[in-house]
Symmetry: C2
Subunit: 746 residues, 2 copies
Amino acid sequence: MAAEMALSHRAPREVLSEAELEEVAKRKPPTKPSLRGCLHKTRCSGSAAKSLLFRFLPFLRWMPRYPIKDWLLGDILSGFSVGIMHLPQGLAYALLAGLPPVTGLYSSFYPVFLYFFFGTSRHNSVGPLREVLVPTLISLPTLYPFSGPFAVISVMIGSLTESLVPSENFLESVNGSNATVNEELRDAARVELVATITVLTGIFQVALGLLQFGFVVTYLSDPLVRGYTTAASVHVLVSQLKNIFGVSQGENSGPLSLFVTVIDLCKKLPETNVGTLVTAIIAMVAILIVKELNHKFAAKLPMPIPIELITIIVSTGISYGVNLNDKFGISVVGNIPSGLKPPVAPNFSYFGQVAGNAFAIAVVGYAICISLGKIFALKHGYKVDSNQELIALGLCNFLGGFFQCFAISCSMSRSLVQESTGGNSQVAGVIASLVILVTILKIGELFRDLPKAILSAIIIVNLKGMFKQFSDLSSLWKSNKVDLLVWIVTFIATLLLNLDIGLAASVAFGLLTVIFRTQLPHYSILGRISDTDVYRDVVEYEMAQEVPGVKIFRSSSTIYFANVELYAEALKKKSGIDVDRLIEKKKKALKKLKKQQKKLEKEKAKRKKVLPPLQSPSLPQNAEDGPGLSVIELNVGESTTPSEPTLHSLGLPQPTFHAVILDFSPVSFVDTVSIKILKNIFRDFHEIEVDVFIASCSVSVLAQLERGNFFSSAITKHSFFPSVHDAVVHISRERQQASVDHSTRM
Amino acid sequence: MAAEMALSHRAPREVLSEAELEEVAKRKPPTKPSLRGCLHKTRCSGSAAKSLLFRFLPFLRWMPRYPIKDWLLGDILSGFSVGIMHLPQGLAYALLAGLPPVTGLYSSFYPVFLYFFFGTSRHNSVGPLREVLVPTLISLPTLYPFSGPFAVISVMIGSLTESLVPSENFLESVNGSNATVNEELRDAARVELVATITVLTGIFQVALGLLQFGFVVTYLSDPLVRGYTTAASVHVLVSQLKNIFGVSQGENSGPLSLFVTVIDLCKKLPETNVGTLVTAIIAMVAILIVKELNHKFAAKLPMPIPIELITIIVSTGISYGVNLNDKFGISVVGNIPSGLKPPVAPNFSYFGQVAGNAFAIAVVGYAICISLGKIFALKHGYKVDSNQELIALGLCNFLGGFFQCFAISCSMSRSLVQESTGGNSQVAGVIASLVILVTILKIGELFRDLPKAILSAIIIVNLKGMFKQFSDLSSLWKSNKVDLLVWIVTFIATLLLNLDIGLAASVAFGLLTVIFRTQLPHYSILGRISDTDVYRDVVEYEMAQEVPGVKIFRSSSTIYFANVELYAEALKKKSGIDVDRLIEKKKKALKKLKKQQKKLEKEKAKRKKVLPPLQSPSLPQNAEDGPGLSVIELNVGESTTPSEPTLHSLGLPQPTFHAVILDFSPVSFVDTVSIKILKNIFRDFHEIEVDVFIASCSVSVLAQLERGNFFSSAITKHSFFPSVHDAVVHISRERQQASVDHSTRM
């Protein structure tokens, strides 16, 4: 209780400078430079083999503790509905990627199955079951339509397949007249290419994960990710328009390809296949309405109505019955082979050709995966182990590539079931993938008459959630302009430069905003809030009053090479006098004085010495302490050789203040440039008889200043104070002392 | 005096939260968002035509006030010695650029003459004469050999001329047998090319200057510039080795070309021309020794011995007398036409081809110029107007290009005379250029027998000062490891990627270090230094003791999207308990409790109600205030339906502290991501019955939090305190109050 009592009022303690504080508080000698420490931090500590195994195969940890009784039923139900829901989406992704539909089913099966084993766990410590599972089991009705970003990867692959293996390469004249595309050969070539890309993507991701490069995701800020995914959705939308309108269109790649595609499409609009367009519109309207109902009655429905599945079944039926393909020229999915295929090795000859694209896909896929994870993490308050996530994703892709899968972004989209369906764990994912497996084995072939426009409609409707992100614009406008800028720049860059280069540009811009923010800080002069020890910006607080004779200066940001010159400039400007000008004048006046002195001395030498010139050296020391002005003033009249004449004695205007306090609380590090400029500040103000003090300097900055040889006989830790108030009290005491000395001397 | 007395001790004032402070200190309503303000800051204010004229032609300001009597003589003397010194260097630069020697003389004449008119002035206000002149008149013996960086530009041009206009294009078989190069035609083509590059460079520089892009130089930190110029010197050295060894060698360009050149040279070493090598070595030794003497006796010599001039005169004489060219195959400079040439228009057909390189040269040239300026500025305490400097340089290049000059980096190298020679102003520069003019008109042609090896020797010796910068390595190792890293990365990147891409990579890395520094901050728990209101890291200060029941947490850096997750993580880790785990347990226990309650209620419903369930709602409010734990504790025993059960009542371990204070003094801005995470921190700690307070939050951050909807009914400004001590006092009072309440209730 005594301790608490002591806290409850301000102890009228002695003023402490940093130098005194170090003694009183027994500061330990500064530890070794932090670079090694930083490296050490990021290095993985030697963990036991078991924990390593648990780390790379997290399911080993939670599987034995799986509460079969409580969770299994829910997981099975949930798995079924997820599997059914994702069947149409799997087909749709294949369409996006320019591949035969069955590969979409493969991609829906293998990686999910694999992810079950490698999926990330929350901490390395053995946490409770729910926590371990959380990353792969997130349920949020508003975030359900996550096919968007998954589709992004498919689109990236699609642009690659169609440019590297164009249909034109497989033209053959069947009856000597009309050249048709040998689709079988073409698709085989494309599948091989994509499998190679997928394997390579996996290799890149595992490598990055092992190199602990997962930290790069910290650069993907929330507004950046949302801007990016919104722009990606636009790309997906545009890529599907040709199927909606039923026109054939070549693929464009590279920057600005989006606009080329749109213009191209507009030109071809007259060729629109009305049947296809009508089919697509009907499907979209139906899906939209039912999804809205699902959302509205989410609480009452045991599981959402699988409208997408219903749509493809109904439309396949109609298509088969009416023979839409032949009658109206509506293009359909085509043959879907049944059964799994044995694993095949990727074609290594493609490696060189697609390495760049595979890297882009690896990064984008990972970025999407982890950034979705981050959205959930923010909402649910858990963390994603980004390196493990990267390795898991990479392994899924690597292994999946051998089974003709295409690169997946993240199996998260798969786990996005509503909690209402009762899914509790990754087991639900496994069950869902088994549903897909059955489809591949038995049911798939029935969908050969499914119109492609239906799949496009499903893709487009699922983008709705992504496009809702445009509302960020108004909320960011209100809350944070810089984040708004990041959102917009990311969106535009991704639209213009496509998904790979656009991401790089956006990240660079995001980081630059941090630099800009520190480069354009808010400089202010602080004043004391009456009768407190609180000092605030005199512009913002009416009651804040400048301490007479003391300028308290504060920058809102840290000080480093890119802004330290602005800092010094702002300080001199805010102090209200032209410091440099004054110094210049002083130097001139000193030169004049010297000349005069030389003359005088010569004259004196003639007349013999009257005063010993060694009398004065004690004075400048006094002047250094600050308030000794008046003392020197007195002497000037008598002695003609004061070794350090004051501004006053030189007939120059004196500054209206005698001390400057730099509030260093926002300074988080200093570099060699800022140390140099700081030294200059001390030197310049000393020239015009103003003392400089630094307040609230953090210990780590103090240590950096020490290492950077900041301290000298002229600048000591006695100029450093733990708070602004300490410095102010110190200055006023010194001043009082000086005036007492003065009056006693008088 | 009364005000000062009040300052001199701590007023035992009331504890103020931010909310109370706003009222007491009358905070003005937050001003409009700063983005517009930031834009406004960088925009040029509408200044009068006269000041604009003065700004672009600074000489108008200082010329009328030029003190002819005092300065003219010194300027003339200085100008002469500078002119004489730079004659050999002009020839040498031409050699570097792969151009006929006379263009080097042109480049030494025109731009300097022009720079006299456009050269930057210190401030826009009319300053004293010396200040206006300072940027072009700096004298520092140690910085004298500045031909290094000037040579960098020449080298960049050289690699371009030799790759775009290779000698092979001008082979002609004179006597039908041996193909020789028609040097005249080749040189004419090269001069035209370089003139075009120079004009284009000038255009780029003026454009950048007018667009106010001069600020980019703030990204060139001191270590970066020194690492860059050191690497550039290596490039220059390597480019000259072929002349020293007298072997002929093609030019390589692009990344890694340095190593290709070195390897190529090593292969050709057997073909070394011994005569050339010996000549070069003798010249180098002689120049080195005399320069050393110059340096040693700088005070005694009226002007430094112009050893370079002497060397070229002597060697030309010997070469002419002995006919070195014919006898030993030592290659000589060749014909130097006398007289000036009329201006010619650049060849626009080259524009497209060299635009990229011209831009690189524009940026590098400006970067070198301004960074040298920064070195001086740091030493002499003045500032360089970077936009004006950019425009001046651009105009010099633009106009110079018409007179067959090649792009210059900065005429600064020219003004680098020792003050001992008496140069006071830019007038000295004009005189020096007149000396060069005379050389061009009359003397130049005499140097036709000057061996090229001598010029290379001069270039190499002048690099000495640059190579001395290697000593930065040891001093940076001691003072600042991060800056050391920047130095090394810049050096290596520039060596590997050449001067253009290397610079871009280095700047990017330099900026990334700022990001890394903020991303790897030092997290600490603060403790109170006994009997003071100073709080310091408990690890670093022995006497710092944690306040019982209160965790005070501080990060050394600001908080933004890239590090806020680490911040939250570190906070939870440093607090000593597994917060997430505890929350998880609480939720589980709550679930269990609910089940039990349901059971109980059912039983009760059977037995009829005994206690009205509406009694408890007043309690949770109490619990929110912080120290109400014990109150609820009491009730738990009696009432079976407390609507918010405590950890204790649930049988869970309670945290050892009841409050967390976040020291926000280093936080300089917040973005939407950090606001979200901060909200999560408040929520999580509230879950485990710990109150969160924020101390020392700056006003601008407070305003950003307001705009970002941080405050709600759960988080108010009453949780914000101007200092850590205020928060601690507030907490202990609340605690006392609660225990008093408790005991009275007892």
